[in-house]
Symmetry: C2
């Protein structure tokens, strides 16, 4: 059951990250002066809202599972459903990593960049952990139908790029059309890199 | 069962649209000269690939359903699962509409713009139809657990913006950093506005 406890911790953490991320991005939408920029960040936040909606069901379910009976006692169908839900959120973590990377190209202040990059790094580690757990569980419970574990994430050079570095010298980010004064990191929750580290 | 037949037609059509869209966007990724542009379109295509993966299971399932027994004969659990899967793809259609709108800011040639806008318009209609069908079915099958039908898509002015118009006069789209010669619309499948209309 240690795996379920791990999954619970990962998806609970990412819920906190979504809230942080929204606090950073919402001011950009509010300050945007053109439709493309507004649509771009609105779209990203909307996808994260949808993910949050799913996590609000999955996290309590994993919590109940981790406190309860052994996975072997789950019906094949429940097990298969759980694996499929977790697999969807595996993609969710991957996409969130890219939302964070894309946002690095927006901000020029170090504090926000470090906050985003810290979440990016942890999200990537969490993604790899979920991938490994999924592979183990699928093998162990080979009787239950389980989701296609094909990666859509390999063989893409872009995943190897250090976007923190690349964005530092980016000539024309979307940022160029936005005027935002205070670093967005002082948003809703008064987040700082320090508070992130304590998460 | 007419609703299931309608859902099948909608999700089958969107599979074709994903292929068209990929044919239009891939050349941009190949021609991109900076990491931000590459990441941006790579990310969008990856999300559409993930959606395609889910549709490859959902579409045949709906096809089987539409040919078979009445929905009333499905178990509550099967019904609930189906509603939940369709609800996820309702969001998928919404997100695809925005991928299409975002892409309008990339292209300056009329043929590609009309192709993208045609898919955008039909996708939006399909999205509204799915929403309506979901609401009807949820009401009719109120015994089965059904997904949260909350909209994340209302109260956002951005959804009322005519992005075809807005993008026509956009001063600095991502396009400014890309050099692509031939209109991407002559890609993989030799798509034209004419061939789109016949879909
Ligand atoms: Fe995204
Ligand atoms: Fe997206």
């Amino acid at each position: 059951m240690q795996e379920i406890t791990q999954l619970h911790a990962i998806f609970d953490r990412t819920r906190g990250y979504i809230n942080n991320f929204m606090g950073v991005i919402q001011p950009i939408i509010d300050a945007a002066t053109d439709e493309h920029t507004r649509l771009y960040y609105h779209h990203i936040l909307e996808e994260e809202e949808q993910r949050m909606g799913r996590l609000q069901e999955l996290v309590p379910y994993l919590e109940k599972l981790s406190a309860g009976k052994s996975l072997d006692q789950l019906s094949d169908r429940d097990l298969s459903q759980m694996l499929s839900d977790v697999n969807l959120e595996r993609f969710g973590l991957h996409n969130f990593r890219e939302h964070l990377e894309l946002s690095l190209y927006e901000f020029k202040d170090d504090e926000t960049r470090q906050l985003l990059d810290g979440m990016r790094e942890k999200t990537h580690t969490d993604y790899l952990t979920v991938k490994e757990i999924m592979a183990n569980m699928s093998q162990r419970f080979s009787d239950a139908a389980h989701p296609d574990l094909t990666d859509h994430d390999e063989g893409h050079d872009i995943h190897q790029v250090d976007h923190l570095k690349a964005s530092a010298s980016a000539p024309h980010g979307v940022a160029s059309v936005i005027k935002h004064s205070a670093p967005a990191v002082t948003g809703k929750k008064g987040l700082t890199v320090g508070s992130l580290k304590g998460m």
